[in-house]
Symmetry: C2
Subunit: 228 residues, 2 copies
């Protein structure tokens, strides 16, 4: 899902990218904009990511992850077993509504402004309906004032990263990919640095996470995530 | 840590109780009140739980869990491995500050009132200092008005439990014990039902969780967690 500047900007696509990289599966990505999704998928999907593999087409990032884990048992596993899978689901059940929604409340206008012109009208109407807000402008209103509260919502990540290099412990797991995907999404569009300059250990974890798999999330066009 | 009514009321002790039951380890519990902790432990601990096992004495619920997992490898494992351990730590990094602290903001006066008389003065002064609040009364002020927001903070648990019987999936894991311990703590003292009558799937999960290990958390003296 590409923006006008060519950067990929869906946090859910980033989950899938990280997952495929983790499993050492090669893939070809098709850059499209939001309003092209139904056309490209033959009307099957309204959202990304969607994966085509042999005769199978799978939408939704969790379904993709479940699919590749089952279809490629000889590749590096994404989960040690059903309990880790359940625990990462539980993490997502917190992270999506309580962190990613806060990111949206800071950056949704930045996303709109960075989107391809042909996506603007649909992006605005679909997101206003999904978020149940009168306007995207109202939703991001006063965002500088709300920034400290958004930073505070990241406290559980900081606490976890104070005792190990990744959310998953010594090595990254799908919880890392979920969270890194959200920061990568912000970095593609942000006109307001999300994090304070000295926000360790988040800073070093993001550096490590963007460097994974040959610098999977690195791009010179990214906006700064940190002040200063 | 017992209240005037004899009920055990530390959420952290409940974590340890569940963990020992999970590992099928027998133990003898010593009922004490808050101000007896230093005396009983010979000055080594200011908090509970504390575990004595052979020559080892371990305080802090996470240290206890780590200890029993290592000391009794032939007993049922609490964690499938280091990644599940890290994921449960991450859950706790969210649950402790963002859910249990909210529970405190509803029930800390109920705990004080239920505590043994000799604990009252120390409970008040130590908790006011820890929570950095002018008074416990101020901290619980307006609690009925804040109840909807506390219920909303439990949304990630509901979401997770909509797809499986336990937070850990098909079987309970230490994330369940952390959360169940918090609800058991509330149930020991509550004078305001925490949850709405029809709050499924939380209700059936709490029933299942209190029934575990021969009804480990059941007690006729418990206060209702649900309205109506």
């Amino acid at each position: 899902l590409v923006l006008e500047n060519g950067l990929s900007a869906s946090p859910f696509v980033w989950r899938a990218r990280y997952a495929l990289a983790h499993k050492a599966l090669e893939f070809e990505s098709v850059p499209i904009c939001l309003t092209q999704i139904p056309k490209v998928s033959g009307g099957r999907f309204k959202t990304v990511p969607a994966l085509e593999d042999g005769g199978n087409t799978i939408g939704d990032s969790w379904d993709i992850v479940t699919y590749v884990e089952r279809a490629y048992p000889d590749k590096p596993p994404l989960f040690t077993g059903p309990t880790e899978y359940a625990m990462v689901k539980l993490f997502d059940a917190w992270f999506l509504p309580q962190v990613m929604r806060r990111f949206l409340s800071l950056y949704i206008l930045d996303i709109l402004n960075a989107a391809r012109p042909e996506d603007h009208a649909y992006f605005r109407s679909s997101r206003e309906a999904f978020l149940k807000v009168p306007s995207l402008e109202a939703f991001v209103g006063n965002r500088e004032v709300r920034l400290p509260e958004v930073r505070e919502a990241l406290a559980p990540l900081r606490r976890q990263l104070s005792s190990g290099p990744f959310l998953g412990g010594d090595t990254p797991n799908y919880a890392d990919y979920i969270a890194l995907g959200a920061f990568r999404w912000v970095a593609a569009v942000s006109t307001l640095p999300l994090l304070a300059k000295d926000d360790e250990p988040l800073r070093s974890w993001i550096e490590r996470g963007f460097d994974l798999y040959g610098g999977i999330a690195r791009d010179d066009r990214l906006k700064p995530l940190f002040e200063g």
